[in-house]
């Protein structure tokens, strides 16, 4: 099983002929992801990355290849347009890697997506991976190993750290989802926790949050009320000063809201184990298996 992506994923890459698009398409194919199409307006009829057919529009790509998932390698200013194009072409899952999309653009895009059947992951995220099946993102594939720990995170490299440490201990992952570091993202902690709770392959969950917003608090409420699988959490930014944007657009303590302390307290109260530092996460996960 696992969630969101797997063997059944038929991926279209929007922006496939760009530098990033080409590089990461090759990496995804090498990992075993079924990349069925690419889209670059004006380059329809060409081939990219050896033998991936390129189309002018997502709709054409879907019609010709039955693509069901899309990943965007387009600059921030073109990303809202590309997300909406994918949604209107009937793509079920759209992954947006780009950083620096204005928050109000995302508010409008999200509001529109609610009228469709399309789920958005990101923006400002590394994508997601179901080890051994499909990698739809920019994470290093080889550090992952198939298994039963679901991971959901607002941060890229911090997630790789945890995955790497888990794999080193021989603990595999069901799916690792990077939901993105922006203030408005397509998929929240809560959405992914729900999916992990229902996924038979996932036996326990790691949640990696950070300062800013209250998404972790709502995740905590869900954990308290609905999760039967153990959750291990970590919150980055305990030493972050208020009012400063810590790299991610969403990582800012504003109006006294969104501190690490309040998130950690909420997660602990909900029954999650909260690690003091990132390396402790794998330790706590291993202890659950003992």
């Amino acid at each position: 099983m696992s969630i969101l992506v797997g063997k059944e994923t038929r991926l279209v890459v929007q922006g496939i002929t760009g530098r990033e698009g080409t590089f990461h398409t090759r990496q995804m194919i090498e990992y075993g992801t079924q990349v069925v199409a690419g889209v670059t307006p004006g380059k329809g009829g060409e081939w990219a990355v050896d033998n991936v057919p390129v189309f002018d529009t997502v709709a054409e790509a879907v019609k010709a290849t039955d693509a069901n998932t899309s990943i965007l390698f387009v600059p921030a200013r073109f990303a809202p347009d590309a997300i909406l194009e994918a949604a209107d072409a009937g793509i079920q899952l759209v992954i947006c890697i780009a950083e620096n999309i204005p928050a109000l653009d995302m508010a409008r895009v999200r509001a529109y997506l609610e009228t469709t059947h399309t789920r958005l992951i990101g923006p400002n995220c590394p994508g997601l991976i179901t080890p051994g099946q499909a990698k739809v993102g920019i994470m290093p594939g080889h550090i992952h190993t198939p298994g039963h720990v679901g991971i959901v995170s607002r941060s890229g490299t911090l997630t790789y750290e945890v995955v790497y440490a888990l794999t080193a201990r021989g603990i595999g992952q069901s799916t690792a989802v990077g939901i993105g570091g922006d203030p408005i993202v397509g998929t929240s902690f809560l959405d992914v926790l729900q999916m992990f709770q229902e996924d038979p392959q996932t036996e326990q969950v790691v949640l990696i949050g950070e300062i800013g917003g209250t998404d972790e608090q709502r995740a905590a409420q869900f954990i308290a009320e609905h999760m039967t699988k153990p959750v291990t959490a970590f919150i980055a930014g305990q030493t972050a000063p208020p009012g400063k944007r810590m790299g991610h657009a969403g990582a800012i303590i504003a109006g006294g809201e969104g501190t690490a302390a309040e998130k950690i307290a909420a997660l602990r109260a909900a029954g999650a184990q909260v690690a003091h530092h990132p390396e402790e996460i794998a330790e706590l996960v291993a202890r659950n298996l003992a």
């Binding site: 109000l104 508010a107 657009a249």
Partner: protein
């Protein structure tokens, strides 16, 4: 990015929001001339990007041009929360009958703009929210429809606004929402929105915070950035596409990824040190980025040790190590370095650092790295 009060109010005025007559002065003489021109009592208001200007004595009334000059001289010499006052706003003094609050903020949880009003203006809205939350009325218009008149009316009637002001209030609320959207704000606030002695509504104070991600399409707004809002090092970092925030500790941190960078600071603190900065050099960790990052960190005289924490994914650890060594060759650091490289080709990366001409302490775990950096900063033997 924060805008000054005078910049915010000028934007509000473009959207039909009534603001006091006034102008900016950078010298006491200018303030005097402006006061004379207005020909009535004025308020001299320091323009600095921090809250609490009034409590700090940075907002004062002046009845005559002479008094305006004297007051402006005092305020222009002040520092408020460490920021020098370089400009004052000389505004006509309004006769205040009542103070209201009207503000709009990006509501992350609802993924909409929340527009809030309160009959208790002139104080921090967070304070009102904590003390008497029932005095704040909120509407959240649909992002694809925007603020409708009924939203504004429900705010007006919700805060008990006398009905003769409802029409003007509606205009102001529409203007505020439009200003928020068209300028890509994350916060736009009128506090207080005053009912004057002449029974008019007037935006006496204003504040706008812009979405940094929206600045690319507003070059005119990007040009308004106050150099005092960031340190010279922070500015240099921004110009090189690095995320850098100066703190007051002594362990310089260089990390790839924002989440990992925050976590690294946390671990330094957990083991008794204090981070000198937040620094995300991005995923790739290329040599030139690393060199700029090193210069920024070492430019801070408080830094007594540097902790490098890199996860090598698609960029391999040996490539990162090579970039780091090239950068050190160029920058020639005088403080001890502790480096932790984890991920792809980590042994090779570590070996390269250990064999380097520079004394670099390597660490295998983040905890180990933090302990070594803390000891190094204190001048203690490295464990």
């Amino acid at each position: 990015m924060k805008l000054h009060e005078y910049q915010s109010k000028r934007i509000f005025a473009r959207y039909g929001i009534p603001i006091p007559e006034g102008e900016v002065a950078t010298t006491p003489e200018e303030a005097r001339a402006l006061a004379a021109q207005l020909g009535r009592p004025v308020v001299i208001k320091s323009q600095v990007l921090v809250g609490g200007r009034g409590k700090a004595g940075g907002i004062r009334l002046a009845h005559t041009p002479e008094e305006a000059e004297a007051v402006a001289r005092e305020i222009l010499g002040m520092e408020i929360k460490g920021l020098p006052v370089r400009k004052v706003l000389v505004d006509e003094a309004a006769e205040i009958r009542a103070e209201l609050y009207l503000g709009a903020v990006l509501d992350r949880q609802h993924r909409r703009i929340a527009v809030m009003a309160s009959s208790e203006g002139g104080v921090d809205i967070e304070e009102v929210a904590a003390r008497s939350p029932e005095k704040i009325v909120t509407v959240r218009p649909h992002p694809l429809m925007g603020l409708q008149d009924y939203h504004a009316r429900s705010l007006a009637f919700g805060i008990g606004l006398p009905k003769e002001h409802v029409r003007a209030f509606t205009q102001i609320a529409r203007g505020l929402y439009q200003a928020f959207v068209e300028n890509d704000a994350t916060l736009a606030e009128i506090n207080p929105l005053v009912i004057t002695g002449q029974e008019r509504l007037l935006a006496v104070d204003g504040k706008i915070v812009l979405d940094d991600s929206g600045l690319a399409r507003h070059p005119d707004l990007a040009a308004l950035r106050d150099p005092d809002e960031e340190t010279p090092a922070e500015r240099e970092a921004r110009e090189h596409g690095l995320s850098y925030i100066q703190l007051d500790g002594e362990i310089g941190c260089m990390v790839n990824g924002a989440g990992l960078a925050m976590a690294t600071m946390d671990v330094v603190k957990l083991y008794g040190g204090s981070p000198a900065n937040f620094l995300d050099i991005g995923g790739g960790a290329r040599a030139e980025q690393v060199a700029v990052a090193l210069r920024l960190i070492l430019g801070d005289p408080r830094v007594k040790a540097v902790l490098v924490n890199i996860f090598g994914g698609i960029t391999r650890c040996d490539e990162v190590a090579q970039g780091l060594l090239q950068a050190m060759e160029a920058v020639r650091p005088q403080v001890p370095f502790v480096a932790r490289l984890v991920g792809t080709n980590e042994e090779e990366g570590r070996r390269m650092l250990q064999e380097a001409a520079f004394p670099i302490f390597t660490a295998t775990s983040l905890v180990d790295a933090a302990q070594k950096a803390v000891a190094a900063a204190k001048g203690e033997p490295i464990p």
